[in-house]
Amino acid sequence: MNDLPSSTGASEEDQAVQLLRAAGPRPLAAAARAARVREAVHDRWQARSRWRVLRRRALTATALLTAAAALVVIAGRMVGGERSPAPREAGAIVATVERIDGQPRVADTTVPGDRRPMAVNDRVRSGEWVATDGAARVGLRFPDGTSARLDRSSRARLRSASALELTAGAVYVDSERSSGQFEVQTSLATAHDIGTQFEVRLIDSSLRLRVRTGSVELRSGTRSVSGHAGTEVMFTAAGAVSRPIAPFGPEWDWTASLVPPLATEGMALSTFLERTAREHGWTVTFQDPALAAEVSRIVLHGSYEGLPPADALDVAMTTSGLRHRLERGELSVLRPVDMRKR
């Protein structure tokens, strides 16, 4: 940087120029940064613009109030219809394939007939479609740490590094490690998460939202419905109905088949239990406070890679010399029976 202006009696022009030179040129974001931001913002703006157009059409068409609900559904379907075939260049890499089960596929609509099988560590670009058949599932990891898991018979398009568009089936999102800005867009509503775990499933002309932790906001036009932890929301063009649900149980089990690999070498048993419990919606309790402290000092060694989560839990507890019991979503950590008898 040049020296600061210090001369007295300089002309005003000189003063302004000296100040400018002292400050130096304005910093610029690198071209790559600008391109990344532009793409993400553009994708979102484009989707929003289309949605606005469709909403205007729907509002006009709903002059007959009795037909309002039906028209919104049609408009929603039109959104899906307009988006799906829209060719665009595949954009920046926005996610990585973390887990697969069966043979999920990815397609770039700009390449005729493109329908590639996916493999772990494949990169997925914005604009690409990911599809699973009746025997496949796929887990994706986004740059901010969000995990998005696509269930069987699902189809989604990655809109950006923080949004995907679901057109069939279900997606489970875990944004624990991210800023909680992830979005699941559907023709019925957009789900905005607030640092949470949730599932969005399309069932006929309804959207079912199940919130495991945190909270999620569903937005559609001027309508907004919030779903909080332990709540299921059935959202249709006509209205929304909420009911309480358990954050654990068979309906969540499919998400556990795509749990991200856990590097257990050197991990504290307490961390392992916390992660495992989070993936299953369990709460962890300890037989006594002293045991909780002991568990945080037990360090795991070796890899549990490839073991189903329940088996990995068994191995971890057995090798640590402890017992556990699982009842109604509560994982109780217990001392060995013989230790207490001594």
Binding site: L4, S11, E12, G24, A34, V37, A40
Partner: protein
């Protein structure tokens, strides 16, 4: 194109409007965020992306009462605050182009010894203040000043870049200098050591 007209075209989904919006505001917002995030470029990128997405979502609520840049900066300031709070840095925000902060920066610059240990830090604050002033000037004024005084372009070359005549370029340069002095003095209240406040003078620089 006025800010309100740009907003309406963006709401209507015009691609050209998006290009203009991004070109006009991305780098300015990036610098705005960068100055408040301790120069963390990754954080600034994330914040600006969020702010632009949020702003475009909320565009129908923009009534044109404030300049679009002012509105965007307000959203950006809020987003930076949230981020710093999340990272446990609440209260440490440095808003070097906010009036009081800018005044403080300039006061510090005025009392600095040439080789003082904090010189680099305060020069950075001064730079932030000058850059923020340039970013808030009317369209092309900031660019014109940089081209002329930092990149050394001649008036002819500036005229050619802007697609206008020599006289018009000269006039724009003059207006840009006046706007810069006015903008900086309004924000800062006074000029650094050795420079009289432009308010105390009666003549306009040319």
């Amino acid at each position: 194109m006025s800010d309100l007209a740009l907003a309406r075209r963006l709401i209507a989904g015009e691609e050209a409007a998006f290009d203009e919006f991004f070109t006009r505001y991305f780098q300015r917002l990036y610098r705005f965020a960068l100055a408040r995030l301790d120069g963390n470029e990754d954080a600034a990128e994330e914040v600006v992306q969020q702010v632009m997405i949020h702003a475009l979502d909320r565009l129908p609520t923009y009534r044109g009462e404030a300049a679009l840049l002012t509105w965007l900066c307000a959203l950006c300031r809020r987003e930076v605050g949230r981020r710093r709070e999340r990272d446990g840095q609440a209260g440490e925000i440095s808003l070097s182009d906010d009036h009081l902060e800018m005044r403080a920066a300039l006061d510090l610059v005025a009392i600095l010894q040439p080789d003082g240990p904090d010189q680099a830090l305060h020069r950075r604050e001064l730079s932030n203040a000058v850059h923020a002033t340039l970013d808030h000037l009317p369209a092309t004024y900031g660019d014109v000043l940089e081209w002329k005084y930092l990149h050394g372009l001649s008036v002819d070359e500036i005229a050619s870049r802007l697609g206008i005549g020599y006289k018009a370029a000269e006039s724009r340069l003059s207006r840009a200098r006046a706007a810069f002095r006015e903008g900086f003095s309004i924000a800062a209240g006074e000029w650094p050591d050795g420079l009289a406040s432009p308010r105390s003078r009666t003549s306009e620089g040319s």
